[in-house]
């Protein structure tokens, strides 16, 4: 759908937060006005993204091509179901996170807040750009902007530890970026196009060696950002950043951009059918299955709450990667839904961790005895999200996991069904002791703090409520199931 009013919607969705960056810097000395800009941009972005939902569900895809980046490859945006899921996730959570950030940053008296909010807004522009890119080169452009724009957030505290984490972050992600670039250039060489097309763009003449090289380049390139083991270790280190940034990294933008890249590479460039034909899916499933189990086991060993959440993220991202590698409609539906559901649930957990840090100044799980009695609402929300990640109905995690397991069974891959079910137990194993500790143990004498401040508590409750709602009624508001199912059907096509 080119050349209609709708064409400009994706562009507006990308640009609104980039324009906000200018105003955030301009109003740097007037915090209230500056935060108003962030909130307005976040609300505007959500509204614009949401307004495209009905059109896309109708099977019409708003698209716009601005100018050429390389001969035959334009800077082009196109909104389809998969992209819309990612964009809805990012823009909805940005709005929630914005409220929370204001509470967090002011509550913990952070410095350099203008730089923080400006970088945050730029990250969101890049994320929406990634979601709506119509070809690999446009995708790469936004992908690298995201890498660079997140760097000031990771190093926000400016301490030697933060700078070290920043260095590690850059080394990992720029390495992933160049490997990805090699994959993109080679795709252009092999296929002569970089456009995304459901089912892939590989010509019939493509050989096994070419395809294997491309597949490895994409898998490793995106593997860095989606923290697939053994390429994950930047993510726990980056936990040194302020909690809203961790939320952005884990739930909203960065790692999800990596996973979304795999969605595009596997489903829209290489094509599941082509990959299955050459039997290349196995390696991806094995890596993802290994990561699911190993990350869960490592999560047990973390006493720092945010570090435990980080390892949990690594495991859950590989749920998604595993779902994509199954090449079945149910697996893809589950994977796409899990992008959204995991985001909502994980952000709830990070918000809780941040609220505990700002309110009670605690970071370690061993210190959390009785915290639930002081902060009942916060820990109540924590419990809901933890149940969801363990896959307990009726929280959102159950729905996506259901489809993932169904996806494994579609092709009789029982091993991976076992991996998923086992991982549910692990999740319960590393989350429930926290809940137990919080509610059933006696609080320490020194623990006098009360509930988190309202600007943080409301976002926590909204996110937890959303996880519940999406679990009970997955088509609530965002038509998550419809979008995921329709995208999966187009991509998987003949394979069934």
């Amino acid at each position: 759908m080119e050349n209609s009013v709708f064409s400009y919607l994706p562009l507006a969705a990308v640009l609104i937060s980039a324009v906000a960056v200018v105003f955030i810097i301009l109003f740097g000395s007037r915090p209230n006005l500056r935060e108003a800009v962030t909130l307005a941009a976040a609300a505007g972005k959500l509204a614009i993204v949401f307004s495209m939902l009905a059109t896309v569900l109708d099977g019409k895809y708003p698209a716009i091509t601005l100018f050429s980046l390389s001969p035959g490859v334009g800077l082009a945006l196109r909104v389809d179901e998969a992209g819309l899921i990612f964009a809805l996730l990012a823009s909805a959570l940005w709005l929630v996170t914005s409220f929370y950030s204001i509470g967090y940053m002011r509550g913990s008296g952070e410095k350099r807040q203008t730089r923080f909010f400006a970088s945050f807004a730029l990250c969101l522009s890049a994320t929406i750009g990634i979601a709506f890119s119509a070809n690999l080169l446009t995708f790469y452009l936004f992908y690298e902007i995201l890498t660079v724009a997140t760097y000031p957030l990771v190093t926000h505290k400016g301490t030697p530890e933060a700078l070290k984490a920043g260095r590690k972050y850059l080394v990992y992600l720029i390495t992933g970026g160049v490997i990805l670039l090699a994959g993109i250039a080679y795709t252009y060489q092999v296929a002569g196009t970089l456009d995304f097309k459901p089912g892939g763009v590989m010509p019939d003449t493509v050989g096994i060696s070419q395809l294997a090289v491309l597949f490895s380049l994409f898998l490793i390139g995106f593997g860095f950002k989606s923290a697939v083991m053994p390429l994950h270790s930047w993510l726990p280190s980056a936990m040194v950043a302020p909690t809203p940034v961790s939320a952005l990294l884990h739930a909203v933008a960065v790692v999800k951009a990596g996973v979304f890249g795999l969605v595009r590479a596997v489903g829209f460039v290489l094509g599941p059918e082509t990959l299955a034909q050459f039997g290349l899916a196995g390696i991806m499933s094995v890596v993802a299955g290994f990561t699911v189990v190993a990350a869960s086991l490592l999560a047990f060993r973390q006493d720092n709450l945010k570090a435990r959440l980080a390892y949990s993220t690594i495991g859950h991202l590989s749920y998604i990667v595993l779902g994509l590698s199954l090449f079945s409609a149910a697996g893809w539906t589950g994977a796409l839904m899990h992008i959204f559901n995991h985001g909502v649930m994980k952000i709830t957990l990070f918000f809780c961790a941040g609220a505990i840090y700002v309110t009670a100044h605690l970071q370690n799980i061993s210190q959390l005895d009785g915290i639930g009695r002081r902060m009942p609402w916060t820990m109540g929300a924590f419990t809901v999200a933890a149940l969801g990640l363990a896959g307990v109905p009726p929280v959102a995690g159950f729905i996506s996991k259901w489809h993932l397991v169904a996806g494994t069974l579609q092709h009789q891959q029982f091993v991976f069904a076992v991996v998923l079910l086992l991982s549910g137990l692990f999740n319960a194993g590393y989350f429930f002791p926290i809940v137990y500790r919080a509610f059933f143990k006696q609080p320490a004498e020194s623990l006098h703090s009360g509930e988190a401040r309202r600007l943080m508590l409301v976002p926590i409750l909204v996110a937890a409520g959303l996880s519940l709602l999406l679990g009970i009624y997955p088509d609530f508001l965002v038509h998550l199931y419809n979008l995921a199912e329709s995208a999966a059907r187009q991509v998987i096509g003949g394979i069934g």
Partner: protein, 490 residues
Amino acid sequence: MIHNVPVLIPISLIFFAFFTGILGVMRLRYSQLVAVLASALAFSLAVWGTFHVLNNGELSYSFGNWPQPVGIEFVLDSLSAFMLLVITGTGLILLLFPTKPGFKIEEKRGVPLYAIVLLLMGGLCGIALAGDLFNLYVFLEITSLSTYALVSIGSGKAGMSSFRYLIMASIGGSFYLLGVGFIYFSTGTLNMADVMNLLPELYSSPAVIGGAVFIVTGVCLKMALFPLHTWLPDAHSYAPPVVAAFLAAVQIEASAYIIIRMLLNVFTPEFMARLLPLTDIIGWAAAAGIIIGSVMAIAQTDFKRMLAYSTVGQIAYVGLGIGLANPLGITGALLHIMAHALMKSCLFLIAGGVAHKTGITDINDYRGLGRRMPWTMAAFTVSALAMIGIPPTAGFFSKWYLLLGSLDAGNWAFLAVILASTLLNAVYFFRLIEKVFAPAEPSDASARHPGELSPRLLAPVLVFAVLVLVVGFISVLIVNNLLSPVVQGL
């Protein structure tokens, strides 16, 4: 009138060089003004000429109306139009930078300064336009002579490094002249088009092969292509900032242009790439240079010296594109000439501006400058990202064409080198970005309270930074209109 454009550009620059020299005796300020006007004139002529070439094809001018191939000829085609835009455009912005921080020179000593700069630009434009091999030599020597003078006004060991450059560049020039001699004895002509026509019958002649080898070696020396780069780090780091920018941005690039011109319009790709392994040798030397230049840059603590080593690596990108000798590779090489001119000029001007304002030259003292000089450091960040090759800056797109060119040639080693170099560049530029935006106070005592650069220093810096982004966005326009006609013959 329009047929005189090719000749008017270098001649006007050289004429104004004379005029500026006389004015400089009276007042240095006036001579800068005249130099800026002269380069603005040259730039407008270059733009005009470019549009003429785009619409009506190439222009040529014969001196004294002597018919070709006997007479001296200037040719303005897409390739030379592109180079003229880079040379005069970059030169114009560089000349706007104030004299004292730019050349680190007191007014009274600077009498012939702008005359020499205009002479350098005139020489470079002459190289871009020369239609015969001997004239090219003349202009090459004009640029080298003015470079000796300009480098020697720098600080520290500038005199010594200028002398070293003189020795090396003279050897390079002699090699080139020797090669031209061989070609002249074999073909009996110096006109490039004529040589190209006569050459196919002489492909196996030892004199022609020897001539080609001498010419390419000589020019590679002037281009500082690894391993012939040893004179560059000293010359570029001791030269005053604006001079260093001129050298890194347009002077060595003109030598790269000569090799491309030889490849396309004198010796033919058939001869240089397929009968002789000349381009292969250039390509592999460049691949080594990319890595070694970047590694050496990581080892430096002086900002300008780091930039100088970075130039060794970046000019090798151009060399790599030439080595590929396919349309995408040459497109990448040419685009990188433009991108590098803009980003390296920006960085050298920042080095000069910061040194002038605060006395800081060591990168460890850049700590905390981001808060004191937000605009300067924003421009620095944009150029640094372009050097690394992060989209959507100009540096990314040249790299993109080089990658495609490597794949087209089936050369995965070159692909790996370009990508590895991206990581190495990221190491030494992010190291600096990290320091600049770290919360610490500036460490040097004299730098305790530096403010933003004054507008006259800041303006050229910001113009370059904006151009780095603009060229990124319009790279396809440049490629489709100016560069694709150039590489058609490959």
